[in-house]
Subunit: 332 residues, 2 copies
């Protein structure tokens, strides 16, 4: 069965999405007239800019995270395609108010190459600019090779915590340090139950057997590390929590925040049921949860599945995580 | 293919969902210990309470709408089943701080009967209590018989606007008047593309032909009035907008707010593309949009589809619509 998505010409999906986004939230955000960049309408001087580039098709990520106490600007590419270095350069240039720019980079080959080129270009133009590569997906590379891991839904912790921190007026050096700290405290694992549909072709992006779920799926349907038979929320939560806790490791007495990220078609009802199991498991281990984020934040079209992310917090990070934002795609 | 939902025992879906919800948002809301009622943690005296009862399975509706400037309390029933009169009575009693309670009733037979019984019980106990039946679905009954129409996603306008209004400390009489005004200014129409799955049986709740979409679907899969062949977002928006505009009618010079409500698996990308078409059509007709709500607010499990709702606003209603809320399920 072909997709029944609410779209117009498949060649214009991204333009149509962006036009809708600007029309809906034009009180707060705008698009650069000459580039594929969403940016806050009013930038305050004296603050480091926070920028990320990403492929479209994961909405609300990342256009929906541009706002006070979150991102300054987002350079977007085609569906599941990294934006080019020129777009990222434009985002950096526009986000700079004189204090420099921190570029968050979700670890995928295209994003890394293009972001690095854009940072070089900006530095050549005397913009104080530094990149931090985010990697959180424990399924994509073993412990000890964290830098090889993909960036997935746990990158949300960085957008929010580092965004609030930059908003406080800290230096680029300190903002970069905070971004690395959040990354190093984060681990994520994704399970997928039902494939999403490409909005361009209208066909399923990959296959999953009817009685199986994939553990370790990437945000573009990258091959999962393992499969398991369909099971209860309790059992799936147990498998995922154990792997995440062991990897970091998260320890008794730790305080963490949690993201239970729906990948597209997984209902809020299911996310709440799943969160409940996660909390039980963590509490049994003496790990406390602070203000979880539960919702469809970083999606793979209408894929069924859940990305579970943990981030260990200290008091300052808690404060940054909790700060209110007017970014349309974030709510805790 | 059976459902691959993240649940445990199908008999405990609602309890598990609620437990997850309380654990996640226990800083703001609580459950009454002896009843199926979600209520704000701290009620302020001097304010009329705002209550609604509804079946579960539509999350975040309506548990997610309990919060400052929205609902005071929500009595919830089983999956797609109205809560009983005792539950609704408990919600009313708990929401009353002495100024009385306005009970919003989404027009479905069970909700109406049980809410009316609960209101009678409360009045017998000297609680100042009045009900307002909400009907907004133009597909379910013709113009001139508005009172026969079902309550659907446009009820969200009432939760927010009446909630903010009650928060200002107006009398029950005035709150009821505002609820009727919002209802009378609201029209909604829903199209469905893909059926949702019952979380209890694991099977599809109804069938839709592969090349068709249903226009006028109810929130429980109630039969649609018409079908149309799958089409572009632009054409679907045109059909829906024309019917909504004509029904009220909404006129040149009107200022309205809009809900583009995803029914479950429709992506935020699609909702933005669709919203863009809606705005174009309304602007052409000289109708201005104020702060649209775009997201999955009132769902039918993972049904594919969009409910489009309009509500005409005056200056006071605009102010009420825009007020910030800490309700976990609402964000504009």
């Amino acid at each position: 069965m072909k997709s029944k998505k609410f779209i117009n010409d498949p060649d214009n999906i991204v333009e149509d999405t962006i036009e809708g986004f600007i029309n809906a939230y034009g009180d707060r955000i705008k698009k650069l007239s000459n580039s594929d960049v969403i940016i806050r309408k009013n930038l305050e001087k004296g603050k480091v800019g926070l920028v990320i580039g990403n492929g479209s098709g994961h909405e609300p990520a990342c256009i929906g995270f541009v706002g006070k106490n979150m991102l300054t600007a987002n350079g977007y590419g085609g569906i599941f395609a990294a934006p080019g270095p020129d777009t990222l350069y434009d985002a950096i240039e526009a986000a700079d108010t004189g204090e420099g720019v921190c570029v968050l980079i979700s670890n995928h080959a295209g994003d890394v190459i293009n972001s690095k080129m854009a940072i070089d270009m900006a530095q050549d133009d005397d913009i104080n600019c530094e990149g931090v590569i985010l990697y959180d997906d424990i399924a994509s590379s073993p412990k000890g090779q964290e830098e090889e891991r993909r960036g997935t839904a746990g990158t949300l912790f960085s957008y929010k915590i580092v965004g609030s921190y930059a908003e406080e007026g800290h230096s680029l050096e300190k903002v970069v340090k905070m971004a690395k700290k959040v990354r190093d405290n984060t681990r994520t694992l994704t399970v997928a139950t039902v494939p999403g549909t490409s909005p361009i072709t209208g066909y399923k992006m990959f296959e999953i057997d009817d009685d199986e779920i994939e553990i370790g799926m990437g945000v573009h349907g990258e091959a999962a590390a393992h499969t398991m038979k369909i099971s209860t929320a309790e059992e799936i939560a147990k498998v995922m929590c154990e792997r995440l806790i062991e990897d970091k490791p998260y320890l008794e007495g730790d305080e963490i925040t949690v993201i239970v990220n729906g990948c597209g078609q997984t209902t809020y009802m299911e996310l709440l049921i799943f969160y409940n199991e996660v909390q039980k498991i963590l509490n049994e281990k003496g790990i406390k949860i602070y203000k979880p984020a539960i919702g469809n934040f970083i999606t793979t079209q209408e894929m069924g599945g859940i990305a579970l992310g943990f981030c260990k917090l200290d008091d300052e990070m808690k404060k940054m995580w909790a700060k209110e934002t007017d970014a349309p795609g974030f709510n805790i």
